[in-house]
Symmetry: C2
Subunit: 180 residues, 2 copies
Amino acid sequence: MSTLTYAILAELARGPATGYDIAAAMRSPVGRYWTAQHSQIYPELARLAERGWAGVAESDGPGPRPTKTYTITPDGLAALRAWARTPEPPPPPNSPTTVKLSCAWLLDDDELAGLLDGLRAEAAAGVARFEGLLAGLDSEPPRDDPTFAAALTVPIGLGYERHRLEWAEWALAEVARRRR
Amino acid sequence: MSTLTYAILAELARGPATGYDIAAAMRSPVGRYWTAQHSQIYPELARLAERGWAGVAESDGPGPRPTKTYTITPDGLAALRAWARTPEPPPPPNSPTTVKLSCAWLLDDDELAGLLDGLRAEAAAGVARFEGLLAGLDSEPPRDDPTFAAALTVPIGLGYERHRLEWAEWALAEVARRRR
DNA sequence: AGGGGCATGTAAAGAGTTACATGATTCT
DNA sequence: AGAATCATGTAACTCTTTACATGCCCCT
């Protein structure tokens, strides 16, 4: 059982959903932090049902196949809770962008400044996105509601983007200072 | 050509190395941010040599096979620089830990506090690690030296861990506040 | 009439991890 | 005597992405 298994269960814990719904949610998983393609989700949902962690209801679909609506079972919910409360080993911090930055000594000032400015713009957009998201959140959500979790996770994303923005601005200033 | 290709080239740009050296550097790539196993590195080095981006020199090895020392070629350096200066599309921010946090509404107060405290401890260790690294850096490194890049990348890591630590402390306080 | 959204699936290829395999030297 | 380090490689497996494939309904 991979992270995807539980990321799907976490979606189902919020309510019944089709594979299409879950794929849509995982296209831009703001505040929930997992992505996957539908080609990975459909087989995983079938395994979930086979394992008894989700139930399926079929209805007429728009295409040649029936629409399948999945619902989390008590077993599935228990498995999700058990997974969620165990600590995760820190993942390898693989970042192509930081590898590029580690080549900064090979680039000239303009190339480096261009790279940094792109990162600055990206981070600024991220800050705006998460600020909007935070503004839309209930300030004191019910303890047993998904929005309670969002009130915790959205500030991580916001803090992360803010830190990236500050760093990019500092790095640009640093490169400009050394240029002279 | 994957990120691994260029991450290896970035190592070779610092000087000739064996596959073993690169695997060791990528076991804990502090400030450079890519990890890989030797089983991935050895074939990739062979492809690099085949492509003309690295040269190989064989010498007697400690085991049954000769030791191969790889050196970056002018073509390899040019390819690395070209890659490094092009912006990277933002990667999917997949994080198992944040998926767990998005299940916070399913956990009771003690389970959630335990999860958060583990993250706090992890972040605190990270801050200490990067502070030590930063302390060991030259404050004004030569522009065309790998340490110049480290002076840029180490503060990203430090800032990231500081942000995580602040967030974890805030989240713990938030959970404690709502507990009462 | 064509494009986009809804809805499901499979196939192929690439990326990454874990395990298997060998063998000399050095340290405890 | 056994473990760790140096040094290389392959095999099997899992995870992820990209592409192929179908077909209805709604909007312009």
